[in-house]
Protein backbone atom coordinates (compact mmCIF):
# COMPACT_ATOMS: atom_id res chain seq x y z
CA UNK A 1 0.00 0.00 0.00
CA UNK A 2 2.71 2.40 1.01
CA UNK A 3 4.48 1.88 -2.28
CA UNK A 4 1.30 2.54 -4.29
CA UNK A 5 0.76 5.66 -2.21
CA UNK A 6 4.22 6.91 -3.04
CA UNK A 7 3.73 6.25 -6.74
CA UNK A 8 0.39 8.05 -6.73
CA UNK A 9 1.87 10.98 -4.89
CA UNK A 10 4.84 11.17 -7.27
CA UNK A 11 2.47 11.09 -10.23
CA UNK A 12 0.41 13.92 -8.76
CA UNK A 13 3.51 16.04 -8.21
CA UNK A 14 4.67 15.35 -11.77
CA UNK A 15 1.27 16.29 -13.19
CA UNK A 16 1.25 19.49 -11.16
CA UNK A 17 4.72 20.38 -12.45
CA UNK A 18 3.74 19.77 -16.07
CA UNK A 19 0.61 21.85 -15.59
CA UNK A 20 2.58 24.68 -13.97
CA UNK A 21 5.17 24.79 -16.72
CA UNK A 22 2.40 24.78 -19.31
CA UNK A 23 0.72 27.70 -17.58
CA UNK A 24 3.98 29.65 -17.54
CA UNK A 25 4.46 29.03 -21.24
CA UNK A 26 0.93 30.11 -22.05
CA UNK A 27 1.61 33.19 -19.96
CA UNK A 28 4.70 33.99 -21.98
CA UNK A 29 2.82 33.62 -25.24
CA UNK A 30 0.04 35.85 -24.01
CA UNK A 31 2.45 38.50 -22.88
CA UNK A 32 3.94 38.44 -26.33
CA UNK A 33 0.69 38.92 -28.19
CA UNK A 34 -2.04 40.36 -25.97
CA UNK A 35 -1.04 43.97 -26.38
CA UNK A 36 -3.35 46.66 -27.69
CA UNK A 37 -1.95 47.45 -31.16
CA UNK A 38 -0.57 50.89 -31.98
CA UNK A 39 -1.63 52.18 -35.43
CA UNK A 40 1.73 53.96 -35.92
CA UNK A 41 3.58 50.70 -35.26
CA UNK A 42 1.46 48.86 -37.83
CA UNK A 43 1.82 51.65 -40.36
CA UNK A 44 5.50 52.43 -39.97
CA UNK A 45 7.20 49.24 -38.81
CA UNK A 46 4.94 46.62 -40.38
CA UNK A 47 5.37 48.30 -43.77
CA UNK A 48 8.66 46.43 -44.23
CA UNK A 49 8.42 43.46 -41.88
CA UNK A 50 5.89 41.60 -39.78
CA UNK A 51 4.73 43.53 -36.71
CA UNK A 52 7.07 41.80 -34.26
CA UNK A 53 5.36 41.60 -30.86
CA UNK A 54 7.00 44.23 -28.60
CA UNK A 55 7.46 41.62 -25.85
CA UNK A 56 10.01 39.79 -27.99
CA UNK A 57 12.74 42.33 -27.14
CA UNK A 58 13.81 43.93 -23.87
CA UNK A 59 13.46 47.71 -23.39
CA UNK A 60 17.18 48.35 -24.00
CA UNK A 61 17.02 46.73 -27.43
CA UNK A 62 13.98 48.77 -28.51
CA UNK A 63 15.67 51.94 -27.26
CA UNK A 64 18.80 51.25 -29.30
CA UNK A 65 16.79 50.38 -32.43
CA UNK A 66 14.65 53.53 -32.19
CA UNK A 67 17.73 55.68 -31.68
CA UNK A 68 19.30 54.45 -34.92
CA UNK A 69 16.43 54.04 -37.41
CA UNK A 70 18.45 55.63 -40.27
CA UNK A 71 20.71 52.56 -40.02
CA UNK A 72 18.19 49.82 -39.39
CA UNK A 73 19.69 46.43 -40.27
CA UNK A 74 21.11 47.77 -43.53
CA UNK A 75 18.26 50.07 -44.53
CA UNK A 76 17.20 53.63 -43.86
CA UNK A 77 14.04 53.38 -41.74
CA UNK A 78 14.17 56.99 -40.55
CA UNK A 79 11.01 58.56 -39.15
CA UNK A 80 9.97 62.00 -37.96
CA UNK A 81 10.75 62.53 -34.29
CA UNK A 82 7.11 62.76 -33.16
CA UNK A 83 6.46 59.25 -34.51
CA UNK A 84 9.66 57.92 -32.94
CA UNK A 85 8.55 59.27 -29.54
CA UNK A 86 5.12 57.68 -29.95
CA UNK A 87 6.67 54.32 -30.85
CA UNK A 88 9.18 54.58 -27.99
CA UNK A 89 6.40 55.02 -25.43
CA UNK A 90 4.43 52.04 -26.68
CA UNK A 91 7.39 49.71 -27.26
CA UNK A 92 8.88 50.61 -23.89
CA UNK A 93 5.62 49.94 -22.07
CA UNK A 94 5.07 46.61 -23.81
CA UNK A 95 8.64 45.39 -24.09
CA UNK A 96 9.72 42.01 -22.74
CA UNK A 97 10.74 42.27 -19.11
CA UNK A 98 10.31 38.64 -18.19
CA UNK A 99 12.82 35.83 -17.90
CA UNK A 100 13.67 34.67 -21.43
CA UNK A 101 13.53 38.07 -23.05
CA UNK A 102 15.23 40.08 -20.32
CA UNK A 103 18.74 39.86 -21.82
CA UNK A 104 19.32 41.85 -25.01
CA UNK A 105 20.11 39.47 -27.91
CA UNK A 106 23.21 39.95 -30.10
CA UNK A 107 22.76 42.97 -32.42
CA UNK A 108 19.31 43.42 -30.85
CA UNK A 109 18.03 40.82 -33.31
CA UNK A 110 14.97 38.86 -32.15
CA UNK A 111 16.20 36.00 -34.34
CA UNK A 112 19.45 35.77 -32.37
CA UNK A 113 17.73 35.50 -28.99
CA UNK A 114 18.53 32.27 -27.15
CA UNK A 115 14.82 31.41 -26.90
CA UNK A 116 14.31 31.99 -30.65
CA UNK A 117 17.25 29.75 -31.58
CA UNK A 118 16.07 27.03 -29.18
CA UNK A 119 12.48 27.12 -30.42
CA UNK A 120 13.64 26.76 -34.03
CA UNK A 121 16.32 24.11 -33.51
CA UNK A 122 14.27 21.48 -35.39
CA UNK A 123 14.04 23.60 -38.54
CA UNK A 124 16.53 22.26 -41.10
CA UNK A 125 19.17 24.75 -42.32
CA UNK A 126 17.98 24.35 -45.93
CA UNK A 127 14.46 25.50 -45.00
CA UNK A 128 15.73 28.94 -43.93
CA UNK A 129 17.34 29.40 -47.34
CA UNK A 130 14.26 28.62 -49.44
CA UNK A 131 13.09 31.48 -51.66
CA UNK A 132 9.74 31.61 -49.86
CA UNK A 133 11.46 32.03 -46.49
CA UNK A 134 14.57 34.05 -47.30
CA UNK A 135 15.20 35.28 -43.75
CA UNK A 136 14.50 34.05 -40.20
CA UNK A 137 12.84 37.45 -39.72
CA UNK A 138 10.18 36.49 -42.29
CA UNK A 139 7.89 34.98 -39.63
CA UNK A 140 4.81 34.82 -41.88
CA UNK A 141 6.55 32.42 -44.27
CA UNK A 142 5.78 29.66 -41.73
CA UNK A 143 3.60 31.32 -39.08
CA UNK A 144 0.73 32.54 -41.28
CA UNK A 145 -0.90 34.48 -38.43
CA UNK A 146 2.31 36.12 -37.19
CA UNK A 147 1.05 39.54 -38.21
CA UNK A 148 -1.70 39.15 -35.64
CA UNK A 149 0.77 38.04 -32.97
CA UNK A 150 -0.17 34.36 -33.28
CA UNK A 151 2.90 32.10 -33.34
CA UNK A 152 1.13 28.91 -32.26
CA UNK A 153 3.40 26.04 -33.25
CA UNK A 154 0.48 23.77 -34.14
CA UNK A 155 -0.33 25.92 -37.18
CA UNK A 156 3.25 26.14 -38.48
CA UNK A 157 3.63 25.23 -42.17
CA UNK A 158 7.18 25.30 -43.48
CA UNK A 159 7.08 26.04 -47.24
CA UNK A 160 8.76 23.57 -49.59
Amino acid sequence: MKRADRIARTLLVLLALVGASHAVRAGDDQRRSAVAPLPAYQQECAACHVAFPPGMLPPDSWRRLLNDLPHHFGTDASLDSATVIELAGWLGANSGAYKRVRAAPPEDRITKSAWFVRKHDEVPTAAWQRAAVKSPANCTACHAQAGQGDFNEHTVRIPR
Binding site: T75, S78, L79, K134, S135
Partner: protein, 131 residues
Amino acid sequence: MNCSLSMRLAGATLIAAFAGTAQASPADLQAAYAALGATTAVPDRGQQLFTTRHGREWSCSTCHGAVPTQAGRHASTGKPIAPLAPAVNPERFVDAAKTEKWFRRNCNDVMGRECSAAEKADVISWLRTLQ
Protein backbone atom coordinates in the same frame (compact mmCIF):
# COMPACT_ATOMS: atom_id res chain seq x y z
CA MET B 1 12.30 87.26 -58.00
CA ASN B 2 13.18 85.26 -61.09
CA CYS B 3 10.83 82.79 -62.68
CA SER B 4 12.68 79.65 -61.61
CA LEU B 5 12.80 80.68 -57.98
CA SER B 6 9.13 81.52 -57.87
CA MET B 7 8.37 78.12 -59.44
CA ARG B 8 10.46 76.42 -56.80
CA LEU B 9 8.69 78.28 -54.04
CA ALA B 10 5.37 77.33 -55.57
CA GLY B 11 6.49 73.66 -55.62
CA ALA B 12 7.63 73.76 -52.01
CA THR B 13 4.36 75.40 -51.01
CA LEU B 14 2.41 72.75 -52.90
CA ILE B 15 4.29 69.89 -51.23
CA ALA B 16 3.81 71.52 -47.83
CA ALA B 17 0.12 72.09 -48.50
CA PHE B 18 -0.43 68.49 -49.62
CA ALA B 19 1.53 67.22 -46.61
CA GLY B 20 -0.82 69.10 -44.31
CA THR B 21 -4.29 67.75 -44.82
CA ALA B 22 -6.01 67.04 -48.08
CA GLN B 23 -5.15 64.21 -50.41
CA ALA B 24 -3.02 65.02 -53.42
CA SER B 25 -3.01 63.22 -56.75
CA PRO B 26 0.10 61.70 -58.38
CA ALA B 27 -0.16 64.44 -61.02
CA ASP B 28 -0.20 67.11 -58.28
CA LEU B 29 2.91 65.69 -56.64
CA GLN B 30 4.74 65.33 -59.94
CA ALA B 31 3.90 68.96 -60.78
CA ALA B 32 5.08 70.14 -57.37
CA TYR B 33 8.39 68.26 -57.65
CA ALA B 34 8.91 69.48 -61.21
CA ALA B 35 8.31 73.06 -60.06
CA LEU B 36 10.71 72.57 -57.14
CA GLY B 37 13.35 71.20 -59.47
CA ALA B 38 12.64 73.90 -62.08
CA THR B 39 12.35 71.20 -64.71
CA THR B 40 9.92 69.18 -66.78
CA ALA B 41 9.56 65.54 -65.78
CA VAL B 42 10.93 62.96 -68.24
CA PRO B 43 9.43 59.45 -67.87
CA ASP B 44 12.38 57.70 -69.56
CA ARG B 45 14.79 59.27 -67.11
CA GLY B 46 12.58 58.08 -64.28
CA GLN B 47 12.61 54.52 -65.62
CA GLN B 48 16.39 54.62 -65.96
CA LEU B 49 16.80 55.79 -62.38
CA PHE B 50 14.31 53.21 -61.12
CA THR B 51 15.63 50.11 -62.86
CA THR B 52 19.40 50.55 -62.64
CA ARG B 53 21.76 50.25 -59.70
CA HIS B 54 23.68 53.27 -58.54
CA GLY B 55 26.95 51.74 -57.35
CA ARG B 56 25.24 49.88 -54.52
CA GLU B 57 23.58 46.57 -53.88
CA TRP B 58 19.97 47.48 -54.73
CA SER B 59 18.03 49.30 -57.41
CA CYS B 60 14.45 50.50 -56.81
CA SER B 61 13.25 47.52 -58.83
CA THR B 62 15.08 45.06 -56.55
CA CYS B 63 12.13 45.41 -54.16
CA HIS B 64 9.43 46.99 -56.35
CA GLY B 65 10.03 44.88 -59.48
CA ALA B 66 11.13 46.16 -62.89
CA VAL B 67 7.46 46.54 -63.82
CA PRO B 68 5.85 47.94 -60.69
CA THR B 69 2.30 47.33 -61.84
CA GLN B 70 2.87 44.04 -60.03
CA ALA B 71 3.59 43.40 -56.37
CA GLY B 72 7.20 43.42 -55.25
CA ARG B 73 9.01 41.89 -52.33
CA HIS B 74 11.31 43.43 -49.72
CA ALA B 75 14.89 42.40 -50.53
CA SER B 76 15.86 41.56 -46.96
CA THR B 77 12.66 40.67 -45.10
CA GLY B 78 10.73 39.04 -47.96
CA LYS B 79 7.56 40.96 -47.05
CA PRO B 80 5.27 41.56 -50.07
CA ILE B 81 5.12 45.16 -51.32
CA ALA B 82 1.91 46.34 -53.00
CA PRO B 83 2.28 47.65 -56.59
CA LEU B 84 3.75 51.14 -56.92
CA ALA B 85 2.10 52.22 -60.18
CA PRO B 86 -0.79 54.52 -59.28
CA ALA B 87 -2.96 53.11 -62.08
CA VAL B 88 -3.17 49.76 -60.30
CA ASN B 89 -2.79 51.00 -56.71
CA PRO B 90 -4.77 54.18 -55.99
CA GLU B 91 -3.08 54.55 -52.58
CA ARG B 92 0.21 55.51 -54.20
CA PHE B 93 1.39 59.13 -54.42
CA VAL B 94 -1.67 60.67 -52.82
CA ASP B 95 0.01 61.70 -49.55
CA ALA B 96 2.93 64.12 -49.81
CA ALA B 97 4.38 63.32 -46.38
CA LYS B 98 4.33 59.58 -47.06
CA THR B 99 5.82 60.11 -50.52
CA GLU B 100 8.60 62.27 -49.08
CA LYS B 101 9.33 59.75 -46.34
CA TRP B 102 9.75 56.85 -48.73
CA PHE B 103 11.78 58.81 -51.29
CA ARG B 104 14.11 59.89 -48.46
CA ARG B 105 14.65 56.37 -47.12
CA ASN B 106 14.74 54.48 -50.37
CA CYS B 107 16.93 56.89 -52.33
CA ASN B 108 19.34 56.65 -49.39
CA ASP B 109 19.32 52.86 -49.59
CA VAL B 110 19.67 52.73 -53.37
CA MET B 111 21.87 55.75 -54.13
CA GLY B 112 23.46 56.63 -50.82
CA ARG B 113 21.90 60.09 -50.98
CA GLU B 114 18.49 61.72 -51.16
CA CYS B 115 16.91 62.15 -54.59
CA SER B 116 16.54 65.62 -56.05
CA ALA B 117 13.11 67.08 -56.70
CA ALA B 118 13.73 66.66 -60.44
CA GLU B 119 14.52 62.95 -59.98
CA LYS B 120 11.35 62.44 -57.94
CA ALA B 121 9.32 64.15 -60.66
CA ASP B 122 10.91 61.85 -63.28
CA VAL B 123 10.15 58.70 -61.30
CA ILE B 124 6.52 59.65 -60.65
CA SER B 125 6.06 60.60 -64.29
CA TRP B 126 7.32 57.18 -65.42
CA LEU B 127 5.16 55.34 -62.88
CA ARG B 128 2.14 57.29 -64.12
CA THR B 129 2.70 55.94 -67.65
CA LEU B 130 2.31 52.34 -66.45
CA GLN B 131 -1.07 50.73 -66.90
